[in-house]
Symmetry: C2
Subunit: 215 residues, 2 copies
DNA sequence: ATCAAGTCTGAAACTTGTTCTAGATTAGCG
DNA sequence: CGCTAATCTAGAACAAGTTTCAGACTTGAT
């Protein structure tokens, strides 16, 4: 990553991502551009992974000038994190449609995460690009990464029939999320098998049982 | 990261890192070069973090040609991961000198990790560089990353008075390690407080109690 | 319809990781 | 010592992320 992270945010009026729809209404054509960009990104990432997402190519594939691409997404990392947000929304919607079936909260969470994991396995290169971006992100991407994190938390809480989780349960969820991310990385870099990821997730999910008296 | 990851390892006789001392004996001057490189890297990373470790600067600071630097460490990531190995060895040695004092295995592990965490806090920029490299590493760095992982596992097992850990305990250790890495990342990117990291680590360590009947 | 402000485009320039090359140096060996 | 292969050096060259800029196009308000 060549240039230094920008030390200040010069209040440049950029469309920004969909993080907070309040920042700028975005005209229809702008919305379309944004969508084209994300689609092109996902496609390029789908083959090749992280390295195949080249800003010039994304710009060309989405029929947008390089400068415009950078106005929408101030760095490659921002772009990929936004792609992840996008995909997570899909996933969450899908999961809502068919909720997990396990008996205990721990089982349901593990089941949900394994389902998400299988979805990622179908597009390992895309997963690689998104996850690498997520963990490589520096402070300048914090808001966006945080949003991804909140979305993930929401998915997990949905899976345990939540209803006002206790602080202890929230702690457990945090550890599960840590495990999820980190296990994903070890799998993507070929240092852990799918089976190993499964075990790790299930192990982490046991923490839920510890604090749980069956909803 | 411009160039594609090299798909093949062309058996080029490179000094490689100290991973396995068997690969190439390394003359005295070579050992000295390697050491200078790692020292320069740690220093540059100490200010500035990941971005401040620029290959040309590392080469200059360690009085080595750029090409030579690349012969010793085939990429910036390799270089930083090797730096991490180096630091971890120091840490492990230090920890051995004063073992943790907690009563239960879980307490001792948490104590150990928090001690390591405090060490990292003293050099947050260095920590940033090393951890980012670690999680960004792709398959071409797997052996080295794996070595770091083994070292970390060893530290944790040391902390729980180990003695042939059960498979369940090993699973718990894996989750703890995942949590450790991921929590570190969230702290480094400013998305979690020190207190939060502490809680997360302690929560993960509870998994040890689950499988433990006090050694 | 018209004007000002904000956007988008195309292209070049800049930065930093990585590779390559030709010529010194060094190491090990007979 | 003198040779040969490996290693090291200096420096150019290349790749991809990022920045910049001048000019064309849109948009929104009047």
């Amino acid at each position: 990553m060549p240039a230094e992270a920008k030390p200040d945010t010069p209040a440049r009026a950029r469309p920004d991502t969909a993080a907070r729809p309040a920042s700028a209404p975005l005209t229809e054509r702008q919305e379309a551009r944004r969508r084209r960009i994300l689609a092109a990104t996902a496609q390029l990432a789908g083959r090749g992974g992280f390295d195949a997402v080249q800003m010039r190519e994304v710009a060309e594939a989405s029929q947008v000038a390089l400068g415009t691409l950078y106005r929408y997404f101030p760095s490659k990392i921002h772009l990929l994190v936004a792609t992840m947000q996008d995909q997570l929304e899909h996933l969450h919607a899908t999961l809502r449609r068919r909720p997990p079936s396990g008996d205990s909260a721990a089982e349901r969470v593990a089941e949900t995460l394994m389902r998400a994991f299988r979805a990622l396995q179908r597009e390992p290169q895309l997963a690689d690009a998104m996850v690498r971006a997520l963990t490589f992100a520096d402070r300048s991407v914090s808001p966006e990464v945080d949003q991804v994190s909140r979305q993930t938390t929401a998915i997990i809480l949905d899976a345990m029939g939540r209803e006002r989780p206790t602080p202890e349960q929230l702690s457990a969820v945090r550890v599960i999320e840590h495990t999820w991310h980190s296990a994903l990385i070890t799998w993507l870099s070929g240092r852990a098998s799918i089976a190993q990821v499964k075990v790790d997730i299930e192990t982490a999910c046991r923490l839920i049982e510890l604090t749980d008296d069956e909803s």
